[in-house]
C-alpha cells in the first residue's frame, strides 16, 4: 500500500526540519506560559510551590514533622531557634500539542497537514529539550491517537515518529475533538491547537473546553494560501466543489465578483475565529503554509508569547 504523498516524506521532512542551524536557534527558546501551573515532577520552571531547588526563598519556624535536612543549623547555633530554610520549587511544565488530522488538513499547496506537523515537531522539540512534559494528541472527530508524557531529549525520535505516522483521519469535528482532549487530559498546562478551524458546526462550543484556568491555550490556524484567496487556486467556469470531509457539494460559477466575495468570506472567517478565541483568552495565530516554519517559530510564536 502506497502512502499518501503528503505523508510519505513526513519523516524525512521532519528530519530536515531539525537542521542543525534551526536546532541551534531553537535551543535558546523555551515554552512560556502566561499562567503558572503546578507540575508533577521537578523541572526547570519556577512554581508557586516551595520545594527543592538551589534558589533560596524564605525562612519559617520549624514545626514538628518538618524535614530535618532543611533546618538552618547556622541560625540555630546563633539564635538557638530552629528555622527551616525554604527554597523555590522548580517544576516542569505540561505542553500539549494538539494536531488536527481531519481530512480537510490534507489539502493545499504547501500542504497544511505537513506544515502543521512541522510546527508540532518544532514546538515539541523545544518542549522536550527544556525538560517539559510534552503530550502529543492527534484529533479529528475526537482524539485519534495520543502520546502523553514525553520528557527529555531521549523521546525526540519517538515524538517525530508519532507525528510522521499521522494520516488524514476522515471527517473532523472541532467541538468533539476539543471535548475528547479536554476530558482526557488531566494535566494543566500550555495547549497548542494546530488546525484549520474550518468548522461547519458550533466552532465556539469547542473553544469553551479550552477556556478557563486549566489551560493556557494557543490556537494556531493553519491555512493554505489557496484557501485564503481562491484566485490563487486558478479556478474557472462552472464547478461542483466537493467538501473532502462531508462530501457536500457547492455549485459555483466562477466570476471575479464571486472570487472577491470568497476572499472577503475567508478574511471574515479568520476574524471570527480570532475574536472567538480572544474572548476566551486564547491566543490566535494565523500560520499560512507559504510562511516558512522557521519564521513562525522564531518570530510569530515569540510575538504571541508562546515561546521566549
Amino acid at each position: 500500500m502506497t502512502q499518501a504523498p503528503t505523508s510519505r516524506d513526513t519523516a524525512e521532512a521532519l528530519q530536515m526540519l531539525l537542521t542543525p542551524q534551526f536546532i541551534r536557534q531553537m535551543e535558546k527558546l523555551d515554552i512560556a506560559s502566561r499562567k503558572l501551573f503546578a507540575g508533577t515532577l521537578q523541572g526547570e520552571r519556577r512554581s508557586k510551590q516551595r520545594g527543592q531547588s538551589v534558589e533560596f526563598a524564605d525562612y519559617r519556624n520549624y514545626v514538628a514533622g518538618d524535614d530535618l535536612r532543611f533546618i538552618d543549623w547556622n541560625l540555630y547555633a546563633r539564635l538557638d531557634k530552629l528555622f527551616l530554610r525554604l527554597f523555590m520549587e522548580e517544576q516542569d511544565l505540561a505542553l500539549c500539542v494538539v494536531l488536527d488530522v481531519s481530512a480537510s488538513m490534507d489539502w493545499g499547496d504547501p500542504n497544511k497537514l505537513l506544515h502543521a506537523k512541522r510546527l508540532a515537531a518544532a514546538l515539541s522539540y523545544i518542549g522536550l529539550v527544556r525538560f517539559n512534559r510534552v503530550h502529543l494528541y492527534a484529533v479529528a472527530n475526537g482524539v485519534v491517537e495520543q502520546m502523553p508524557g514525553l520528557r527529555g531529549r531521549r523521546p525526540i525520535p519517538k515524538m517525530l515518529e508519532f507525528l510522521a505516522r499521522q494520516r488524514p483521519a476522515g471527517a473532523g469535528s472541532f467541538p468533539a475533538a476539543a471535548r475528547g482532549f479536554a476530558l482526557g487530559q488531566g494535566h494543566k498546562g500550555v495547549v497548542v491547537l494546530l488546525s484549520d478551524f474550518l468548522e461547519k458546526g458550533d466552532f465556539a462550543a469547542g473553544l469553551r473546553y479550552l477556556a478557563g484556568d486549566r489551560f493556557d491555550a494557543y490556537a494556531v490556524q493553519v491555512l493554505a494560501p489557496q484557501e485564503l484567496d481562491a484566485e490563487k487556486a486558478e479556478l474557472s467556469g462552472d464547478l461542483a466543489l466537493r467538501d473532502v470531509e462531508d462530501g457536500f457539494e457547492a455549485e459555483v460559477s466562477i466570476s471575479p465578483l464571486l472570487l472577491k466575495r470568497y476572499r472577503e468570506a475567508a478574511e471574515g472567517w479568520c476574524r471570527h475565529v480570532r475574536s472567538e478565541c480572544n474572548k476566551r483568552q486564547i491566543a490566535w495565530l494565523l500560520a499560512r503554509t507559504d510562511n516558512p516554519v522557521e519564521n513562525l517559530v522564531l518570530d510569530s510564536f515569540r510575538r504571541i508569547g508562546l515561546l521566549n
Partner: protein, 661 residues
C-alpha cells in the same frame, strides 16, 4: 403628404408565442440547472464557498443567471424563436393569406405624377413589395387591368417570375374596368381545400380608385385589400386640366370648311386661364386663352368651344393645352380630317340612264361613261386613280358587263362578274318573267344597313356561285344574288341580277325606290374610300379593334407612335388591337389614306380626374365596400429565426472557447 414608414412591430399570433414562451423558457432554465455539467473539484471545505455564494445571492438575486453568458445567450435564442412563433410583422409591405392576387391598375389616371415618379410606378413597386413579403403556400397571381384585364403571371410561388411579370407591365391611357380583372380571378377565389385546410385568398388592388364599372362588384370569397395609390382631394390639391371632348366635321355644303368642337375640364379648385393652341398638321394656326371655372363638389369646371376652320386637304387637327399638370396624356388631342371627297367614277354600260342618274346624285365629282367595247380596248391598269397624275378613277361600275380582265380598282358589278376563280353568275331562265322577292339580306353590312328590301321585286334574278371567302349580301330564292368577293388584290361587289332586262325595261323595282341612290352612294364611298362619312376620325385607347384596309401584298402592318403597334395583315385587312397609349400613330406601310394616320385620344373625364378615391366599388361577400388600407403588415419572423441562428453560433463559439481554457 405621405407619412414616413413606421417600424412598429406587431404580432399576428401573440397567444401562440406567449404559450410557447411560457412552456419553453422555464424549461430551459430548469434544464440548465439540471443538466449543467460542472467540473467536480475536491476542496478542503465548502464552508467559505457557501458563505461567499450566500453573500452573493443575498446581495443580488439571480446573480448566477446573469453572470452566465451561455444561459443568457440560450435565453436570447429562445426568445427570438418565441418571437418568431408569435409572427411579428412590421408596418409596410405585406403579406397575408395563402393565395394572393395582386391587381395592378394600369389605366390612364395611373400615369398621374402626384406620386413620384408616377402612380403606376408606385403601384408596381408596391406590387413587388407584396411579392417580396409573400409567405403563403397557395401562390400569388398578378393581374393588370385597364380597358381589359390580363393575367401577367398565373398562380405561382416563384417570386422571380412574379417580379419580372410585374416589371413587364406597361402603363396605358385606357379607361379602368376593374370588373374584368375580378372576373379573371374569380375562378381561383372559391375556397378550396388542400389537405382539408381551407385556403384564404387576399385580393390586393393597387389602384387610384377611378373605376368605370357600373355598380359595385362582388367577390364570391376572399378578402379585398384596396391599396390606394395617389392622393385624395383632402390630401393634396387636385392639379389637372384636361381635354375631355374633341370632334371635327366637314361642312355638308362646303366640304373645304370644317367645324372643330372641344371641351376642356378644370379639376383645380380655382379658376384658371389657359392657353389653347390649334394645330393643322403640326402647324399652329390658332391660339386662344380660355377662362376655366373652378372645380366644385359636383365635378370639374368645364368650358366648350367651337372653331370653324378652312382645311381643303386631309389633315390632322390638334388641340393642345399649354399647361403643366400631373397628367400629360390629356393635354393634347388629335383628330384626322379626311380630304374633301372628290369621287371619280367610270361607268361601263350599254346605256342605263337610271343608273347614271343614281351615280350622278351620289356626290360624285367626276363621272365618265363608256361602252363595254371601248372599255375592252383600254388598258385597265391606266384606269386606276393616281394621286400624282390626278387622273384615273376611284371605282368602276359595270352594268351587265363581265370584263375579261380584273379591274384595277374596287368595282361594282350589276349582272356581271369579274374573272375570279370559283365565281360564276347563273342567269334566270328566259321567258320566265316572274317577279321574285329576296329571302334575306345582310342588315349588319354597312352597305345594306339603310336598305329595306321586303317589297322589292326582281325579274329573273338568277344566282351566284361563290368562291370560298366570299360574303353573301343578298339571298334570292335560288341562291345568293349579291356578294362581296375578292380577286386577291381588289374587293368587288357583284350581283346576279341585271338592272334592265333585254327589252330595256326595269328588271327590278329597286331602281324606282329612293333606297337605290342611297345604296349607290354608300357603295361608291365604301369602295372608293372605305368610309362614307365626312366626320373627323379619331379613336380612344382601349376601344374596339380597328379594321384597317392595307395593301393586299402586305404581311404585317406597323404603326409608329407613342408606342409601336404591329398587326398581321390577312387578305389586305389588318385588325389593329385596342390602342394602349393616346397620341398620333403613323402607318409605316401603304394603307388606305384615312388609316395612314390614326389619332388616339384619352378624352375621359373619369381618367383625367386626379383625385384618388377612398373606396373601391368592390365588396367581398356581403361585406362593405373596400376601403383604402394604409400600409399593410409584412411578416418578419424569418429575421428572428436568423437572429436565433446567429446567437446560437455565438454561443457555440463561446462554449468551445471555454472548453479550451
Amino acid at each position: 403628404m405621405p407619412l414616413p414608414p413606421t417600424l412598429a412591430l406587431t404580432f399576428l399570433n401573440p397567444t401562440g408565442g406567449l404559450i410557447a414562451a411560457a412552456i419553453a423558457a422555464p424549461l430551459l432554465v430548469l434544464l440548465y440547472f439540471l443538466k449543467l455539467r460542472r467540473r467536480p473539484l475536491l476542496i478542503s471545505s465548502t464552508l467559505l464557498w457557501r458563505r461567499s455564494v450566500h453573500d452573493l445571492e443575498v446581495n443580488t438575486p439571480f446573480q448566477r443567471l446573469r453572470r452566465n453568458l451561455l444561459l443568457l445567450l440560450q435565453l436570447l435564442v429562445l426568445s427570438a424563436l418565441m418571437l418568431a412563433i408569435a409572427r411579428p410583422a412590421v408596418e409596410g409591405g405585406v403579406t397575408e393569406g395563402d393565395r394572393v392576387f395582386i391587381l395592378i391598375d394600369r389605366s390612364g389616371s395611373m400615369n398621374a405624377t402626384d406620386v413620384s415618379p408616377s402612380r403606376f410606378e408606385a403601384a408596381r413597386r408596391k406590387a413587388i413589395e407584396l411579392v417580396d413579403g409573400y409567405v403563403g403556400r397557395g401562390g400569388a397571381m398578378v393581374v393588370s387591368f385597364a380597358a381589359e384585364a390580363r393575367v401577367e403571371a398565373a398562380l405561382t410561388n416563384d417570386r422571380a417570375t412574379l417580379r419580372s411579370a410585374i416589371r413587364n407591365i406597361q402603363p396605358t391611357d385606357q379607361p379602368t374596368r376593374l370588373g374584368e380583372a375580378i372576373e379573371l380571378i374569380e375562378p381561383f377565389l372559391s375556397p378550396q381545400t388542400a389537405g382539408g385546410e381551407a385556403e384564404s385568398a387576399v385580393v390586393y388592388i393597387l389602384s387610384d380608385g377611378a373605376v368605370d364599372d357600373p355598380g359595385p362588384i362582388t367577390l364570391p370569397a376572399g378578402r379585398v385589400v384596396y391599396r390606394r395609390i395617389g392622393h385624395t382631394v383632402e390630401e393634396a390639391e387636385p392639379d389637372n386640366i384636361a381635354i375631355v371632348a374633341l370632334r371635327a366635321r366637314r361642312d355638308v355644303q362646303d366640304p373645304e370648311v370644317a367645324d372643330i368642337f372641344f371641351r376642356i375640364a378644370n379639376f383645380r379648385r380655382e379658376e384658371v386661364s389657359i392657353a389653347v393652341d390649334l394645330l393643322d398638321d403640326g402647324q399652329r394656326f390658332d391660339s386662344a386663352v380660355l377662362e376655366l371655372p373652378a372645380a366644385t363638389g359636383d365635378g370639374p369646371g368645364t368650358t366648350a368651344r367651337t372653331k370653324r376652320v378652312r382645311v381643303p386637304h386631309e389633315t390632322v387637327l390638334t388641340v393642345r393645352l399649354d399647361v403643366d399638370d400631373v397628367l400629360e396624356a390629356d393635354n393634347a388631342a388629335h383628330v384626322l380630317l379626311p380630304a374633301p371627297q372628290r369621287l371619280r367614277v367610270l361607268l361601263v354600260t350599254r346605256g342605263n340612264p337610271a343608273l347614271r342618274t343614281a351615280i350622278g346624285s351620289a356626290d360624285v365629282d367626276h363621272l365618265d361613261v363608256i361602252s363595254p367595247d371601248a372599255y375592252a380596248e383600254l388598258d385597265p391598269e391606266t384606269l386606276a386613280w393616281s394621286a400624282a397624275r390626278q387622273e384615273g378613277y376611284h371605282t368602276i361600275v359595270f352594268d351587265a358587263v363581265s370584263p375579261e380582265r380584273s379591274p384595277p380598282v374596287d368595282s361594282l358589278f350589276f349582272g356581271g362578274v369579274p374573272p375570279v376563280a370559283g365565281l360564276e353568275r347563273l342567269s334566270g331562265e328566259d321567258g320566265d318573267s316572274r317577279f321574285q322577292r329576296l329571302l334575306d339580306w345582310d342588315r349588319q353590312d354597312p352597305l345594306l344597313e339603310h336598305q329595306v328590301l321586303d317589297e322589292t321585286l326582281f325579274i329573273n334574278p338568277g344566282r351566284l356561285v361563290l368562291p370560298e371567302g366570299a360574303r353573301t349580301l343578298m339571298e334570292g330564292p335560288f341562291g345568293p344574288v349579291m356578294a362581296r368577293v375578292s380577286d386577291g388584290r381588289r374587293r368587288h361587289i357583284v350581283t346576279s341580277f341585271e338592272l334592265l332586262h333585254r327589252g330595256g325595261g326595269f328588271a327590278t323595282t329597286w331602281l324606282r325606290e329612293t333606297a337605290f341612290p342611297v345604296f349607290i352612294t354608300d357603295a361608291l364611298r365604301l369602295l372608293a374610300l372605305g368610309t362614307a362619312d365626312a366626320e373627323g376620325i379619331a379613336t380612344v385607347p382601349g376601344g374596339s379593334p380597328l379594321r384597317v384596309l392595307a395593301d393586299v401584298d402586305l404581311d404585317e402592318l406597323t404603326y409608329e407612335g407613342p408606342v409601336e403597334v404591329r398587326a398581321r395583315v390577312q387578305d389586305g385587312v389588318a385588325l389593329l388591337p385596342p390602342f394602349e397609349r393616346a397620341g398620333l400613330y403613323r402607318a409605316q406601310q401603304p394603307v388606305a389614306s384615312q388609316w395612314q394616320r390614326i389619332a388616339v385620344n384619352m378624352l375621359d373625364e373619369l381618367e383625367s380626374n386626379p383625385a384618388a378615391s377612398e373606396s373601391l366599388p368592390v365588396r367581398a361577400g356581403a361585406g362593405a365596400l373596400a376601403e383604402a388600407e394604409g400600409e399593410a403588415r409584412r411578416e418578419v419572423w424569418h429575421w428572428f429565426i436568423l437572429l436565433a441562428l446567429v446567437l446560437l453560433m455565438l454561443e457555440w463559439l463561446i462554449y468551445t472557447h471555454r472548453m479550451r481554457v
